[in-house]
């Protein structure tokens, strides 16, 4: 049956779509191939999630070489959950891209945009599905290299500098990761993650393992854009073409967070990472700094895209805060926020893409009076903003609620105040947009009033509607997030 090959096909379908697009060359044909491939990929990801939720971990032997000798593809509920987020985001961004990149990417480069999106998708999904430490590095590079070029496609010349900055930081991060993997290989003699997990127990506490933990943590934190390693992110999101910003904001950092969770809780084990040393305290401190410092910086931005980018760094702090609590409840809150924030920030960037198309930029001077000229988009931005703040009835509230209750469960009452205070900062930066959009007159030379084309507006509104839906009925998301946390924490074997 074809179903049994889904772990491989999850990567192969977008990977093969990319060269086909290079053949197609024409903008329309490339778009159709990309659309079809993302739809198929999403179907596969959704089926894998259903399968892992009901039957447990799936293992797939690449080339029929059994693990740990061969490369194993191994996907459980945690990986499949993030894979569904990534594939769904790809499926939403593709219909949007047709008009979305028309003005932002040179027409002769359209097919390259679609091909690179496919490669980026293949890389991100590969990270989630692979059970091999080195294979993970390869997919990390596949997705990153595609991302650098996608960012550089932005029409602003500063996009090149932003892409170069990200290339340097991303390469350092990937190098640190691969050094860590090398050390682990030295200590355990295996690259298979499941095999490594059992062998690490036998190796026990050694200097090599400790160094590997340090290298991997810092390397992946660079990719996550964990404060203070976030400096590449604001420019990269601000100058990339709008669909790229939306796609990356919802997926790239989230996948890296998954990798960190995987290494912390499954491979090294929480005893090694949290009980034996101060990792938890350090991560807690950095998360708190991330919740406050970039949020304050966001308040002082004059460009909506940059504001949202800084807000992303701040929101990542909530996710890592959940990790630092070292409990199932904390992990569950992290998984929840991973989903909810992808929904919120992806939706906001998509709405903003339509605004940029009509207003010719995301600077506050261009957005003035948006409430009159583009009422639907302005309202959608406000709803998304409310979800960023965490107002009840939006997805952001649910994840913050779980985060706060996880903190209380650990007896860390003061964290409740910290989350609340950080949310107040979000109120301020969201209010900045409200003030610009509703209390200022539109600029005299306003270029093209009217809403964005439907092909852009509908995907964007669907995601914003998702923010509200998952804010009111969080049954599905909380149940799956709970499973994800349990799988990460207790690491059941294949088929359990």
């Amino acid at each position: 049956m074809l179903t049994q090959h889904f772990p491989a096909l999850l990567v192969v379908v977008p990977l093969m779509a990319a060269p086909l697009i290079v053949f197609a060359r024409r903008s329309l044909a490339s778009w159709l191939i990309a659309l079809l491939a993302t739809a198929v990929t999403f179907g596969i990801a959704a089926s894998l999630l259903a399968q892992t939720l009901s039957d447990g971990t799936i293992s797939y032997a690449m080339g029929s070489w059994e693990a740990p000798l061969g490369i194993e593809y191994r996907i459980d509920a945690a990986g499949a959950f993030v894979a569904v987020i990534v594939a769904a985001m790809g499926l939403i961004v593709m219909p949007y891209s047709r008009v979305g990149i028309a003005t932002e990417v040179r027409s002769e480069e359209h097919y390259l945009y679609y091909a690179l999106m496919m490669l980026c998708l293949a890389g991100l999904l590969g990270i989630l599905v692979t059970g091999d430490a080195f294979n993970l590095f390869v997919f990390l590079e596949v997705s990153s290299l595609a991302t650098y070029v996608l960012i550089a496609m932005g029409r602003d010349r500063r996009a090149l500098v932003a892409a170069y900055q990200y290339l340097l930081m991303g390469t350092i991060g990937a190098t640190l990761y691969v050094i860590g993997v090398g050390l682990l290989y030295l200590e355990t003699g295996t690259l298979n993650l499941a095999d490594m997990t059992t062998r690490l127990v036998e190796v026990g506490d050694s200097r090599g393992v400790l160094a590997a933990l340090a290298f991997i943590t810092v390397g992946i934190s660079l990719k996550i854009a964990l404060f203070p390693l976030h400096l590449w992110l604001p420019n990269a999101y601000a100058y990339a073409p709008s669909p790229v910003s939306a796609f990356l904001a919802a997926t790239a950092t989230k996948v890296s967070i998954y990798v960190l969770m995987r290494y912390f809780f499954t491979i090294f084990g929480s005893t090694e990472v949290f009980d034996a040393r101060a990792t938890g305290t350090i991560l807690l401190g950095l998360s708190l700094a991330a919740m406050f410092v970039p949020a304050v910086v966001a308040i002082f931005q004059h460009d909506m895209k940059r504001l949202l980018a800084y807000s992303s760094v701040s929101q990542i702090g909530y996710i890592t805060l959940g990790i630092s609590l070292d409990s199932v409840e904390g992990l569950m809150a992290s998984a929840m926020h991973l989903f909810n924030h992808a929904l919120t920030k992806g939706g906001l960037f998509l709405v903003l893409g339509g605004v940029v198309l009509r207003c010719g930029g995301a600077g506050f001077d261009r957005l003035a009076g948006l409430g009159q000229t583009m009422p639907v988009a302005a309202f959608a931005m406000v709803v998304g903003g409310l979800s960023l703040i965490g107002v009840p009835g939006t997805a952001g509230f649910i994840s913050k609620w779980y985060l706060v209750s996880a903190a209380m469960h650990e007896g860390q009452w003061w964290l409740v105040g910290a989350v609340l205070a950080s949310s107040l900062l979000a109120v301020i930066y969201v209010w900045r947009f409200v003030e610009v959009a509703y209390f200022r007159a539109p600029p005299a030379d306003h270029p093209a009033p009217g809403e964005a084309p439907l092909s852009m507006l509908l995907p964007a509104l669907a995601m914003i509607a998702g923010c509200v839906y998952f804010g009111i009925d969080a049954t599905w998301s909380s149940e799956v997030a709970m499973r994800v946390a349990e799988v990460l924490m207790y690491n059941p074997g294949v088929g359990q």
């Binding site: 074809l2 090959h5 491989a8 096909l9 192969v12 990977l15 093969m16 990319a18 060269p19 086909l20 290079v22 053949f23 797939y60 032997a61 690449m62 080339g63 029929s64 002769e108």
Partner: protein, 145 residues
């Protein structure tokens, strides 16, 4: 360039041998050091050598840019296609055992086509990079598609 007769004659002599050596490295990869990546680099180096001696336009006439770009995609498709073929023959992805009548011939066939894909992609990517860098100033007036 017109006066460099020694270089031109030597290049004409060396390039066929470089290409043959590339193919040797490719097909001997089963038994000794070598394989698609190294062979691809050698093949690309032969064309780059030709471009250095006879000029970029001459090289682009022999190996057109469009062909190079198409070959980049062909190689990846070939590699990935072998995996899909394995699935169609009832194995796992990239399972070479099912590709032949017996396991040994299956492995041979699988690795042959995969390495062919690697050769094509590596050689054309190297050439593409060379063309883009070498043509930077030349193409400034009429940007390359």
């Amino acid at each position: 360039m017109r006066l460099d007769i020694i270089l031109r004659v030597l290049a004409k002599l060396l390039i066929p041998f470089a290409l043959v050596f590339g193919l040797y490295v490719q097909f001997h990869g089963d038994f000794g050091p070598g394989g698609g990546f190294q062979a691809g680099v050698i093949v690309a180096a032969a064309v780059i050598f030709y471009a250095l001696i006879y000029g970029l336009p001459a090289a682009r006439r022999v190996v057109p840019t469009d062909l190079v770009q198409a070959l980049m995609a062909v190689g990846v498709l070939l590699y990935a296609g072998v995996g899909v073929a394995s699935i169609l023959f009832g194995g796992n992805y990239l399972d070479y055992f099912v590709l032949g009548a017996d396991p040994v011939s299956g492995q041979h066939r699988g690795i042959f086509w995969v390495e062919a894909g690697v050769l094509i992609t590596v050689a054309s990517v190297m050439l593409k990079i060379f063309y883009v860098f070498a043509g930077r100033r030349r193409d400034a007036e009429e940007p390359e598609q």
